[in-house]
């Protein structure tokens, strides 16, 4: 493999990295605060993306405004789901919560085409923020970087940066970290865990909506399925004991796929799955994870 191809492949992976990190971060945020894996994450994001498409493409609004509207919808959905469904369950365990989100997935996937009957498979997605590409020379090699991908990366960096800063420096972030380490104790220390988890669900939904909008596929209710599977894998690959490790997992996955695709495009994903599963087997707590200590 020559240097040009190598660099180009890395640049090509940027969009995937941006998208999967946004999707993954939502999963890890919910996992840390509510101790469950959210199967409905992709469906909520799809709903937000459909809202954005409805306003941005069908009604002809500004794309950025419609994106914000989509994010707000997903934000509200997250709050509603956490408040009225996840919290209300009578002593539901983790597997039960997981299945509740699976029920939500069923509901959303079926309701989306009915609510947005104007959006069909031929509707252009809100994916075209920009056209053309940025051509530059790096180490004597000509590289092109589409503006679309650049905008997605910028969005991801800004949004994730903002959330990480909030986690580090705000009272909400402290609350999230406290809830993540132990919900009962956090409650006893005066943390309003209800607000914390509701906001986590909301932020996860909003971030995943951006991921859905930056995805380069046709619109359909199941469009986030793959991103979600990769998100889960990235979480386990990176390790769920910190917020940053799953993002590293989300960086590894698209890069591996793109490099494998150079040799064989049909089997690229299979190769990625095999590599990632082997890595997880070697390090069951994740590449950067700490061992969970179980009490008897």
């Amino acid at each position: 493999m020559d240097l040009g191809l190598f660099l180009q492949t890395i640049v090509n992976s940027f969009q995937g990295i941006a998208m999967y990190s946004l999707a993954t971060f939502g999963i890890v945020l919910i996992f840390r605060t509510s101790a469950t894996t959210n199967f409905a994450q992709g469906a909520i994001a799809t709903f937000g993306c459909y809202v954005a498409t409805q306003f941005g493409v069908i009604n002809g609004m500004n794309l950025w405004v419609s994106l914000v509207l989509g994010m707000l919808t997903a934000f509200a959905l997250g709050v509603i789901i956490d408040n009225f469904i996840i919290r209300r369950g009578k002593d539901v365990n983790a597997a039960g919560k997981q299945m509740i989100t699976m029920g939500l997935l069923l509901v959303f996937t079926n309701i989306i085409p009915v609510i947005f009957s104007m959006i069909t498979i031929t509707t252009p997605a809100t994916k075209n923020f920009a056209t053309g590409s940025f051509n530059f020379t790096l180490l004597g090699q000509d590289i092109y970087w589409p503006y679309q991908s650049m905008i997605c990366v910028l969005l991801a960096v800004v949004l994730l940066g903002a959330v990480f800063a909030a986690l580090k420096f705000t009272k909400w972030g402290l609350g999230v970290r406290a809830t993540a380490s132990n919900e009962t104790v956090a409650k006893m220390m005066g943390v309003n865990t209800k607000v914390i988890t509701a906001l986590s669900w909301a932020i996860a939904g909003a971030l995943a909506t951006v991921a859905a909008c930056s995805m380069q596929t046709v619109l359909n209710p199941a469009m986030m399925g793959k991103a979600q599977t990769y998100g889960f894998l990235a979480c386990v690959l990176g390790g769920l004991s910190s917020f940053i490790a799953p993002i590293i997992g989300a960086i590894i996955i698209p890069v591996v796929i793109n490099f494998a695709a150079i040799y064989t495009s049909a089997w690229a994903e299979l190769i990625m799955f095999c590599i990632v599963l082997l890595l997880i087997l070697i390090r069951p707590n994740g590449l950067f994870g700490k061992k969970f200590i179980k009490k008897v």
């Binding site: 996992f31 894996t37 199967f39 469904i85 209300r88 369950g89 009578k90 002593d91 539901v92 983790a94 597997a95 039960g96 997981q98 299945m99 509740i100 699976m102 029920g103 939500l104 997935l105 069923l106 509901v107 996937t109 079926n110 309701i111 085409p113 009915v114 399925g225 599977t229 889960f232 894998l233 979480c235 386990v236 049909a266 089997w267 994903e269 299979l270 799955f273 095999c274 990632v276 599963l277 997880i280 087997l281 069951p284 179980k294 008897v296």
Partner: protein, 356 residues
């Protein structure tokens, strides 16, 4: 009269046999065959109903196998779809390539492959636990999906694959649609009887102990290695055999049937009915897989709006999980208790307290 009946040895024997714990399972198997006969000889039951019933019965086998993992061993797996698909694809490949091959030989191959896969996943489950295990098995299922999708010369790629021709079970005996239906009923009955035996034996109790606390189970001398492997091998065997049976009935399969949605549906069927009750699992499977194609497709409004039904299933799933941890079986139990309570109250009101 009554005395005579008691003396008659045949009647006494029948009375004894009908109280045997297996009897209800066998009645269930026979009832499905009766439905088939009704379809064949009377216009009471539709052709499509029997087809849907056969498929639901195959899914019930998968769900019963899955209950070893979820209900007894306490392991979560999302790889079911991959294992069922594997059983289907091995069967179709064998039957198409070696036409006229005995089906039981094919099933033996499926069995061997599923034991190997079950062993592998079982060993993985020793290293990885809980939600992580679910995600790793999901990844494994994706690996199978990629193979089904891309190994086009074996699997036909995304268009799926099919075979025509009959299923030979013995030299000279081949099964048509009805024969395969009866075979599915026999397998289902045999497998639930096996499950019933196994979960009420020391094996089932050991698995249950493992579910409640692995450390306590180990302290009592229960080998995690042995029982985890056993649970995964059993679940994989049930899944692969169900996939194989489904293939012989449908004679067609494609990769889209074996995505994560299928695994989640099986999980939903188990949780909906109640993970540790065979009848509960049947109810759950019927609700998730059977209800729509068997009955509700006849209602024109629902047929034109298929989204409504799936949404209702989703909502019911959420409500049951939120308020009835034990599933629909617990709900039935509660209703029974409620009715009995009311009846006894009514009696008390009518006849006074002392009379009861």
């Amino acid at each position: 009269m009554i005395k005579n009946k008691m003396k008659n040895p045949l009647v006494a024997k029948i009375a004894k046999v009908s109280k045997h714990p297996y009897a209800t399972f066998i009645y269930f198997g026979l009832a499905t065959v009766v439905l088939l006969l009704l379809q064949m000889f009377t216009p009471l039951i539709k052709y499509s109903f029997v087809g849907a019933l056969a498929q639901t019965m195959c899914y019930a086998i998968v769900a019963v196998g899955f209950s070893y993992l979820l209900g007894y061993a306490g392991l979560s797996s999302l790889g079911t779809a991959g294992f069922v698909g594997l059983g289907s694809y091995i069967t179709v490949y064998m039957l198409r390539t070696y036409s006229g091959m005995n089906y039981f030989v094919v099933m033996l191959i499926v069995l061997v492959v599923s034991i190997i896969i079950g062993l592998i996943v079982g060993f993985i489950s020793l290293r990885i636990e809980g939600i992580f295990l679910a995600i790793v098995t999901l990844g494994l299922s994706e690996v199978f999906y990629q193979v089904f999708m891309n190994a086009t010369e074996f699997t036909g790629g995304s268009n799926g694959t099919s075979f025509t021709g009959e299923v030979n079970i013995f030299p000279g005996i081949s099964l048509g649609r009805e024969g395969v239906f009866i075979m599915i009923a026999v397998f289902l009955t045999a497998m639930i009887i096996m499950t019933f035996n196994l979960v009420n034996s020391p094996t089932g109790r050991a698995m249950l102990a493992m579910k409640n606390s692995t450390s306590a189970a180990q302290a009592m001398g229960i080998s995690l290695l042995k029982y985890r492997l056993l649970a995964f091998i059993l679940a994989t065997i049930y899944a692969a055999i169900a996939g194989s049976l489904l293939m012989t009935f449908n004679k067609y399969t494609d990769p889209k049937s074996w995505t994560i949605m299928f695994s989640l549906n099986i999980l939903a069927a188990c949780l909906l009915g109640g993970t540790r009750s065979i009848w509960g699992i049947f109810i759950g499977t019927f609700f998730v897989f059977g209800l729509t194609p068997m009955f509700l497709n006849d209602i024109v409004f629902l047929r034109n709006n298929p989204w409504l039904l799936s949404t209702i299933i989703g909502v019911v799933l959420i409500l049951v999980l939120m308020f009835y941890k034990g599933g629909l079986m617990q709900l039935l139990h509660d209703i029974k208790k409620f009715v009995n309570n009311k009846i006894s109250k009514r009696r008390e009101f009518k006849y006074g307290k002392d009379e009861i």
